[in-house]
Each structure stands twice: as structure tokens, then as C-alpha cells.
């Protein structure tokens, strides 16, 4: 997200440049001065496609906020397939590739962050594309966005000469682009509508008190959290117990003026400056745009991958492995999944940071989010997992073990681990730690007609598939045949019973045989590495169990007939290793294999 490059807009008018003051002085008297948004004064009603919510700047001190740049098209001197890039500050974005033409049309939009003391000049480059060799830079131009946004023109768009990169005197074409600045109030409202859409779990377009409550928790403001009911009542004008999106957006926009509700970014977790409301909204809007792929233009080259990487890393509870410092115990308040502890017979809360929950909901429970998966994010999840595997297999990773144990100190019992901590030379070695013999007593060991649990996990079990889809697995494409694959699936399995063991980061990661019998065979099924968190499993848009990478083995038993055993990989933890082989006779409770970090 934008967590590492926080915008730094200041409110001091003393910093205005002389040039900027002169340029704006003639227009200054026309400005409508909004007390709370004096940094971004906008001339409303300008021409162009964005009039109303977007417009031009009128003063140097206005040069802050979100600029919407649109690369419309170009006129080149020969036919080819073209793409254009815009570089601004440390960001670079590119358009799609045009048709084979000398007049490419892109109509690609990108929101850019304008900072008063930040970059002003955008460089636009136009490339001819080649399948077999590198793309060729044909022309470029540099545009001072401040000049562009303060020029005295009725039109939002303008043509610029494209210069030959080796001989800047030669004009090789023209490019048409538009640029406008988003009204900060619109930014604020649209942001609130979007974030509220994410917590509107039942998608009825209205927020219940509990949905609203989750949102405030994610904002990390304790004061606001204590006033949730009061805020909710203020928004619920007709007193029907629910609040429409627009009502709440308006309330939050007003509230944000009086007393900021949002103390930390629910996307990247960054603590936001209370005194810098506009800057915060800019930060949040760009963070969300980046995460949801809402913008037409994609980030270019390295920056795109890095941006997506940052976002995707939060799409799994496994993110905690590399972010102890912003994990469960700080930042926004934690959300939770309630689990019933069979041993103590009590309900316990499994804590997951609220921002991770929101991120996961944003991607796994929305069409937009899952749409992202078709644009290379599946491959990204794979490469993140492979990279994490390499990292966790390095000697340096061993230093994370004590920190990890401290983090989960109530949930990892060190006395039952087979070897002392010094034995583990990498984090992955610790992750797949063995337990001392007898640490896990096997129920009714002498009776093969009693099946046992296969993993330290959160279990959910159904007598048939129909129940499993009614109560738990919401992916529309789920089926037993999809899970097991055609090679293994038989009629008897089709209406069989289903038991799901979900492992959490802190768990003992070896899995065991639930029944006694013979291993008939293994079948590798390649696939994605979505998270297996209930947020994804419960999503109608995501088909975790039938699309994730997995290995299906079949056990032949005397008391249970055939039993299919499916080991499903997940984000970060995609490596599946078996310690038994085909043809082995195994006793229930014996170790079968383990999951570890990797792809």
C-alpha cells in the first residue's frame, strides 16, 4: 500500500512560491474559501468530462490532493502497436497496448498524488511494442502539472509534442491528455462509500450496527469506538435500525471535520496524522485504489509488482509472519473468528487484525477483488509464496523464531517440542517441528473402527456435501469431484462425509492419519494459493478448495472403506511434503506429512 510513502502535505501558506503567488493572484479573488479545505480550493463548473467533481488549480498552495490524469491518445508518424507510460515522482504507470495504428487511443486514467513540496513534472513516454524484442522508446514529453492545472483554458485536455529521445529538437508525434484535480469532499465521500461497501457483509446496501462497529474498530480510534452507538444513531435519521450508505458517508464526512474517526489506514495499517485530514483521505483513497485495481491504468514495470506485493501480502493471516510489529497487538483493533475449544469446552476468539480481515474481505468477497485474480495476481501469490519459502529456509530466518514464540506465547507449548530451540537452523525447520512421543494421545488406539483428528486445527465436519455448502463452503463451483479430481472421485465419495481441518500459523504443522489402512496412491493437483481462511472459504466468488494447489491421496481401510485425504496448500504455506509413500500400511495417528513455507 502507500504505507511506506506517506504524503506530506503541509498547511503553511508561507511556502508559496513567488511565481505561484503571481500566477494565482488574478484568480485568487474568485476562489471559494472553504474553511476546512483551504489547501485545495477549486473552481467548480469548468468544462471537460470531469466538471463538477474535478477541476483546475488556482494557487500554488492548491497543489495538493489527487490529480486525475488521462492519457487520451496520440498521433504518430507511422503505424505500430503503441503504449504510453507516465512517470511522476517515484511512480510509473503504463497504458494498455493500442491497436496497430498511427493514431493510438488509450483513454487510460490514473490518479496521482500531488504534494505541495513534491514533484511537479510528469514525464510521458510513448513506446512502439515488439513481441520478440524490447519495446522502443519513440517519443517523450515533460509536462509541468502545476502549469497545466493553473493555465487559463476552458478545456481539460491538451495536445503536447512528442520529442525524439536522441534528438529533442525533432518532433515525432503528438499526445493528447487531460488532467484535473478531484474535489476533496468528493474524494472523502467516494472513499467512505467504498470502504463502507466492504463492511456491508450482507450486501444489502445498508449497514447494521455490527457492520458499522467493525468499520470503526478497523479505523483504530478508541474514542470513536466508545461512541459507536451514538454515531450510529446520529446517522440513522429515520430510526429504522439500519443506515444507508449515503447517510453514513455524509455523517462520516461531517464527523471527520469535527473529530477525526480514522486513526489508521485499514489497508496498510499506517498510523495517520490526526491534524492532517485531507492528507489522510488522499492516502486512504490511493491505498484503496491500489488495492482494488479500481483504476484503469496499471502501475508500470517494477512499481506495479511492488505495489501489488504490498497489498497481496495482507490477504492472508500469514502476513503476521513478516509483520509482527504491526500485527495483532497494535494498530487497529483486532477482529475475531470465534472457535469452540473442544478440550476446555469454551468459546475462544482467534484474533486476526481487523485491517487484514478488511483486506481479505475486499479481495475474496467482492467481484472486483476476485477480478484482480485474473490479472496476474494468482501468479503473484505463487511467487510471494516461493519467495517466502526461500526466506524461511535461510539461516538468517532462524532469528525470527524467538520473536514468533513470544508473539504466540499462549498458544505454543514449548515443553512438547521434540528438540530444543537451538536445534532449528531455519524458521521453516521450526515451523515443521516434531513433537515428543506421546504428546498427542491417540483416542482408542486399539480400535481401528474409531477415526481420529488428523491435525492440530480448527475442524468443521458435515455428514454430506449439501450440509457443507449450506453451512460453510460458499464458493459456487464447489463439488466433491472438483475437490478430488476425476481420477479419484467415485460415486461413493460424491455424497460422502466431509471433515475440514484448518491450520493456523501457530499450529503444529504436521498432519497424521485419521484411520488405519494402506496408502493406495497420490495425485498432485496444481493450482492457486488462495488463503484458506473462512473469509475466502465463505465467499461465493472464491473457490478455494477446488482451485488451490493440493495433493489427494486415497487410503484403503477395513472399517471405513476408501478415505480420500486432501492436503491443500495456501498463501505462503504452499509446500506439501509426505513422510510416507504409496503402498505403506499405516496406523491411525501415524505421521503422514507436513506443510511448510514455500510455493
Amino acid at each position: 500500500g502507500h504505507g511506506s510513502s506517506k504524503p506530506s502535505v503541509t498547511d503553511s501558506s508561507d511556502d508559496s512560491t513567488t511565481e505561484g503567488s503571481n500566477r494565482s493572484s488574478s484568480l485568487f479573488s474568485r476562489l471559494h474559501i472553504h474553511r476546512h479545505h483551504r489547501r485545495l480550493r477549486l473552481h467548480r463548473g469548468g468544462s471537460g468530462s470531469h466538471s463538477g467533481s474535478h477541476s483546475k488549480l488556482h494557487a500554488a498552495e492548491d497543489f495538493a490532493g489527487i490529480a486525475l490524469v488521462k492519457l487520451i491518445g496520440a498521433e504518430m508518424k507511422f503505424k505500430d502497436k503503441w503504449l504510453a507510460c507516465i512517470s511522476f515522482g517515484e511512480q510509473t504507470f503504463r497504458t494498455a497496448i493500442s491497436d496497430h495504428t498511427d493514431k493510438p487511443i488509450w483513454n487510460s486514467e490514473k490518479k496521482l498524488l500531488l504534494e505541495r513540496n513534491g514533484p511537479r513534472v510528469a514525464r510521458i513516454s510513448v513506446f512502439e511494442t515488439n513481441i520478440l524484442s524490447k519495446n522502443n522508446l519513440v517519443g517523450y514529453c515533460e509536462i509541468d502539472l502545476y502549469e497545466f492545472l493553473t493555465r487559463d483554458s476552458d478545456s481539460d485536455s491538451e495536445m503536447f509534442d512528442l520529442l525524439d529521445p536522441s534528438s529533442p529538437d525533432i518532433i515525432v508525434g503528438k499526445i493528447s491528455l487531460s488532467c484535473s484535480v478531484e474535489d476533496p469532499i468528493e474524494t472523502e465521500k467516494s472513499f467512505v462509500r467504498r470502504i463502507l461497501a466492504i463492511v456491508d457483509y450482507n450486501e444489502d446496501g445498508k449497514l447494521s450496527i455490527s457492520e458499522f462497529s467493525d468499520l470503526i474498530d478497523a479505523f483504530g480510534n478508541q474514542l470513536a469506538a466508545d461512541k459507536k452507538e451514538e454515531l450510529f444513531k446520529a446517522a440513522d435519521q429515520n430510526g429504522d435500525g439500519v443506515v444507508s450508505m449515503d447517510e453514513l458517508a455524509i455523517l462520516l464526512a461531517i464527523q471527520q471535520e469535527k473529530e477525526p474517526l480514522i486513526n489508521c489506514c485499514p489497508v496498510c495499517g499506517e498510523i495517520l496524522e490526526v491534524s492532517d485530514k485531507l492528507n489522510n483521505m488522499v492516502h486512504l483513497t490511493l491505498c484503496f485504489d491500489e488495492g482494488t485495481g479500481n483504476q484503469v491504468m496499471t502501475g508500470g514495470f517494477l512499481t506495479d509488482k511492488q505495489a501489488s506485493y504490498g497489498w497481496m501480502f495482507k490477504l492472508s493471516e500469514w502476513a503476521n509472519f513478516s509483520s509482527y510489529d504491526i500485527g495483532l497487538k497494535s494498530g487497529s483493533r483486532s477482529s475475531h473468528i470465534v472457535v469452540f475449544d473442544r478440550r476446555t469446552k469454551r468459546l475462544v476468539e482467534e484474533l486476526i487484525d481487523a485491517k487484514i480481515v478488511l483486506s481479505m474481505r475486499a479481495i475474496y468477497q467482492s467481484k472486483i477483488g476476485l477480478g484482480l485474480m485474473d490479472t496476474g495476481v494468482k501468479e503473484l501469490l505463487q511467487s510471494i509464496s516461493e519467495m517466502q519459502g526461500k526466506k524461511m529456509n535461510s539461516i538468517e530466518s532462524a532469528k525470527d523464531i524467538p520473536e514468533f514464540i513470544e508473539f504466540f506465547k499462549d498458544q505454543i507449548n514449548l515443553t512438547e517440542i521434540k528438540y530444543p530451540l537451538e536445534h532449528f537452523k531455519t524458521f521453516n525447520e521450526f515451523f515443521i517441528r516434531e513433537l515428543k512421543p506421546g504428546a498427542r494421545p491417540i483416542a482408542c488406539l486399539e480400535r481401528d473402527d474409531v477415526a481420529v483428528c488428523a491435525a492440530d486445527s480448527r475442524l468443521i465436519a458435515f455428514r454430506n456435501v449439501e450440509d457443507s455448502t449450506r453451512f460453510w463452503i460458499k464458493g459456487r463451483k464447489f463439488s466433491i469431484q472438483g475437490l478430488l479430481g476425476k481420477e479419484i472421485c467415485s460415486t461413493a465419495f460424491m455424497d460422502g462425509s466431509l471433515v475440514i481441518f484448518r491450520l493456523a500459523p501457530q499450529d503444529y504443522h504436521r498432519f497424521h492419519f485419521p484411520v488405519s489402512g494402506t496408502i493406495e496412491h497420490f495425485v498432485d493437483i496444481p493450482g492457486c494459493l488462495y488463503t484458506v481462511n473462512p473469509i475466502a472459504v465463505n465467499s461465493k466468488y472464491c473457490n478455494v478448495f477446488t482451485e488451490n494447489k493440493r495433493v489427494v491421496s486415497v487410503l484403503s481401510t477395513k472399517d471405513f472403506g476408501k478415505v480420500a485425504f486432501v492436503a491443500v496448500g495456501a498463501t505462503m504455506v504452499g509446500s506439501i511434503t509426505f513422510t510416507k509413500k504409496k503402498g505403506d500400511y499405516i496406523q491411525k495417528g501415524d505421521e503422514f506429512g507436513y506443510f511448510s513455507f514455500g510455493g
Binding site: A451, F462, V499, I500, F511, K562
Partner: protein
């Protein structure tokens, strides 16, 4: 990561507490080796009648 076990139709009687929690969409925290369920033995293989499927008329 996740392990899923699929049993053939009418071969296992899963423990009632696990099924009841699941029917409330509530996961149950378990450990390796805890009891999961009992085989539904069928007559021809075991010599025992499948009482679960018997109906009094």
C-alpha cells in the same frame, strides 16, 4: 493450509458435538488424535446389522 478428509457415504458417524458446532458454522479447536467418529459397520462385511438404518414397522 488445510487438510480435508472425505469419507464414502454411510461409512462414518462423526461425533455429534463436531457436527452440531459445524451446523452452527462454528469451527471446533481440536488436536491430533482426538476422537473424530466411529465406523458405521455394515452387515455383509462385519456380520453385524446396520442398526442405524433399521426402521421399526
Amino acid at each position: 493450509s488445510t487438510v480435508i478428509c472425505v469419507f464414502e457415504k454411510d461409512t462414518i458417524e462423526i461425533d455429534e458435538d463436531l457436527v452440531a458446532n459445524s451446523a452452527r458454522s462454528l469451527e471446533t479447536l481440536v488436536s491430533v488424535g482426538m476422537k473424530l467418529g466411529v465406523s458405521i459397520k455394515k452387515g455383509p462385511e462385519t456380520g453385524l446389522p446396520n442398526l442405524e438404518k433399521c426402521v421399526l414397522e
